[in-house]
């Protein structure tokens, strides 16, 4: 396999807890593609995401190679990997305003540029003027959208989704799926999603691996 391949590469990755092997996987996710991993709980799929993040819980062991755009992620700390993650909860930082949440992944930019990007992000999700708001006052769907824009603004090279839509009600879920997959394709990054909802996989429109 050539190293310089763009996208997220999992090369013979194995996750084990003690002596028990949970999963073993080789896959490549090209930019703009969503790879869906489906499996029952306890199959190690969320643990795989932790491994890609670089934050494997100590009870688990992982072998194999994880590479992003040809860079080996193995020895990088989580914050240097350029891998963003979305959970089923939006996990907005409750002590910061919506704008400060969006700014969190944008350190070092001139203030005017940062403001411009935040305003643009809010506009794209139909939430103009929500910057000064308290995250606790947002609806579930609004908070999920802010969380998405927060991770995209930080300019990740890959996006991980951990059961991302399971806490939204049915009509919001369709909207949110469309938004997440459209935006990820628009910025052209590889997406790795774990879910147990077959509709998520269908909406993603990419390859599906069943564990």
């Amino acid at each position: 396999m050539p190293d310089a391949r763009a996208g997220l590469t999992l090369d013979d990755v194995t996750i084990a807890r003690g002596a028990e092997r949970l999963l073993s996987l080789s896959a490549h996710v090209p930019p703009g593609t969503v790879l869906t991993l489906m499996g029952p709980s306890g199959s190690g799929k969320s643990t795989l995401l932790s491994h890609v993040m670089g934050d494997l819980p100590p009870a688990f062991r992982a072998t194999g190679r994880v590479a992003l755009d040809g860079r080996d992620l193995g020895n990088l700390p989580p914050e240097a990997r350029g891998v963003g993650i979305l959970y089923q909860d939006p996990l907005l930082f409750p002590h910061l305003s919506v704008a400060s949440n969006l700014a969190f992944g944008l350190p070092g930019l001139p203030r005017a540029e940062r403001r411009r990007r935040i305003a643009g992000a809010l506009e794209r999700i139909g939430m103009d003027g929500f910057g000064p708001r308290d995250p606790a006052t947002l609806s579930g769907g609004q908070a999920a959208r802010v969380a998405l824009m927060r991770v995209l603004l930080s300019g990740p090279c890959a996006l991980l989704l951990d059961e991302p839509f399971s806490k939204l009600d049915a009509d919001r879920r369709d909207q949110m799926r469309g938004l997440v997959f459209d935006r990820a394709r628009a910025v052209g990054i590889p997406v790795l999603m774990v879910t147990h909802d077959a509709d998520d996989a269908a909406a993603a429109g990419g390859p599906v691996i069943r564990l």
């Binding site: 100590p58 989580p78 959970y87």
Partner: protein
């Protein structure tokens, strides 16, 4: 930077205890204090020894049994009810009142000429205080009662913290569905699990009850005093050979404490066996009296502490207050004019010491918890014992050594030594208070932030600590309250030259100037309580526009 902090913290906890025990053992055997091989002889020949030891054991065991029984009864009968939620709110301020101030207040309440005796005196027209030896009874019963009032909230709080892990709610529901009454069902199905988790705090109460000095000076017997008080007197003597006798006395008390703790363990097993028979026998309890008794005793204890503080306040503004009158003739500011300036100056020193010890403890504790999080260290049961070590080894057993050993090395008593001594006792409480919220913080937030490119330091300073502002300030308030209450470390390590509110208040207690005691005792109470008020107010103000931070 962070990595060595857990080890350093372990040293801060275990070092002084080990070092101090060594420094107590050596002089007791005539090894450190030159030319004195008679330390043991002098301590053992002290005629008051049997009674001093007896009063220590009796007040320690009685106060622990009392506090544990009341806390258990209240939880068994009322946990989960609205009345209980009200009681829970009263718990923190009650806990924060320093031991010495609470004891001074209680003394004002129960003394023959105190507030309680004034009620029948007014009604029945007595013009002289009854001739009763209530305060300082030879067996230390009033001391035990005072300790119950002060330790019950502590045990209640520790038991409350253990409830979720013990699955108290579901267990009680199952027990009641099997036909048990509320109190009986709680005792049978929940108490064993709770007790397993509060064994260490119960031992802390037992050891403190047997070996404390500040409460025993105020409420305990006088001739002879409890052994701990006598040891403190020996240790405050300028004559080094007397201090060697004090070291020996401290070891005798430590030995007695160890024996009582051993007997307590044996009794635990005995009670467990009886409890099993009771559970299998299926008999219940007189539910209604059991339910009513808990709040009466707990409320009485809380009200006594509160009324005691009120008595301090009233005395601090009293001009003439003759015996049967329930209130002084007219309030005056004279006492405050007279004692206030000195008290405030010492309050400043006290707060400087408390803030220093608390800041050092917070740095160590946050460093430990963050290191545990970053390197996924597994902190086991042994670390918990280490944390409790300075609270379980009697202060009179290792503080003498901590004073004598540096002295022999040419380091005299000093402010720095007092500060270091305070850290040893403040740190465990700060750790116990902060570790729960710190570990419960959602680790996914750290992962989301790392995915946004934030370094671990940025996550700690920008997310974790701000989100934990409330718990951090509460831990700081607890640390300050603990430091403000430290009597023996301040006295011994400061060589009598470091004055704090507690050393001054306890020193006044023997003099009997009630107006001065009122001013100083109230000052000590305020110094311990004010930080709690701030710890509640600051987060609500800072996060007044952040709904997600409420109740955090």
């Amino acid at each position: 930077m962070l990595r060595p902090l857990p080890l350093l913290t372990a040293l801060v906890l275990a070092g002084p205890v080990g070092f101090g025990l060594l420094g107590t053992v050596l002089p007791a055997f005539g090894l450190l204090v030159p030319g004195d091989g008679t330390a043991w002889g002098r301590a053992l020949d002290w005629p008051g020894l049997p009674r001093a030891l007896g009063a220590a054991v009796l007040s320690g065991v009685l106060s622990t049994l009392g506090a544990l029984a009341i806390a258990t009864l209240v939880l068994a009968g009322w946990h989960g009810t609205r009345a209980f939620a009200w009681l829970e709110r009263a718990l923190s301020p009650l806990l924060a009142v320093p031991h010495a101030a609470a004891a001074l207040g209680l003394a004002f309440l129960v003394a023959p000429s105190g507030w309680i005796a004034r009620i029948p005196a007014t009604l029945l027209g007595w013009d002289r205080a009854p001739d009763l030896l209530i305060l300082g009874d030879p067996w230390g019963l009033s001391l035990a009662a005072g300790l119950v009032a002060k330790e019950m909230p502590f045990l209640l709080l520790m038991m409350l913290a253990a409830l979720p892990q013990a699955q108290a709610g579901p267990r009680l529901r199952v027990a009641r569905s099997l036909g048990q009454g509320r109190v009986a069902g709680w005792l049978k199905a929940v108490f064993p699990a709770i007790h397993a988790q509060v064994r260490l705090p119960v031992l802390v109460v037992l050891v403190y009850g047997m070996t404390n000095v500040d409460v025993a000076v105020i409420l305990g017997p006088n001739t002879p005093p409890t052994l701990a008080v006598q040891v403190a007197r020996w240790m405050a003597d300028p004559d080094l050979s007397q201090r060697a006798a004090g070291a020996a006395g401290g070891l005798i008390l430590a030995g007695a404490t160890a024996a009582v703790v051993g007997a307590w363990f044996a009794a635990e097993r005995g009670v467990a066996r009886l409890g099993r028979l009771w559970v299998e026998g299926g008999r219940g309890l007189p539910e209604r009296p059991a339910r009513v008794l808990g709040p009466i005793l707990a409320g009485g204890a809380g009200a006594a502490v509160g009324a005691g503080i009120a008595a301090l306040a009233v005395w601090s503004v009293a001009a003439r207050w003759s015996f049967p009158a329930l209130l002084p003739d007219a309030p005056t500011t004279r006492n405050w004019d007279r004692f206030g300036p000195d008290m405030l100056a010492v309050a400043g020193d006290t707060m400087a010491l408390a803030l220093g010890a608390t800041a050092l403890s917070l740095v160590l504790v946050i460093g430990c918890l963050e290191a545990e999080h970053r390197w996924r260290l597994d902190v086991g049961q042994r670390a918990l014992w280490l944390l409790y070590l300075p609270l379980l080894v009697p202060q009179v057993a290792f503080l003498p050594g901590l004073q004598l050993l540096p002295l022999m090395l040419g380091v005299g008593p000093s402010w720095g030594l007092v500060l270091a001594g305070h850290v040893v006792f403040v740190l465990p409480y700060v750790f116990l208070s902060l570790s729960g919220p710190f570990r419960a913080w959602d680790p996914r937030i750290a992962r989301v932030a790392a995915g946004l490119g934030a370094s671990p330091d940025r996550i700690l300073w920008r997310l974790r600590l701000p989100m934990l502002l409330g718990p951090v300030l509460t831990a700081a308030a607890i640390g300050i309250a603990v430091s403000v209450g430290q009597y023996l470390p301040t006295l011994l390590l400061g060589g009598g030259r470091t004055a704090t509110l507690v050393t001054e208040a306890v020193a006044l207690s023997s003099g009997g100037d009630r107006r001065a005691i009122g001013v100083w005792g109230l000052g000590q109470t305020a110094a311990a309580l004010a930080p709690f008020v701030l710890a509640l107010l600051v987060p609500t103000l800072v996060f007044r526009r952040r709904g997600g931070m409420r109740g955090a």
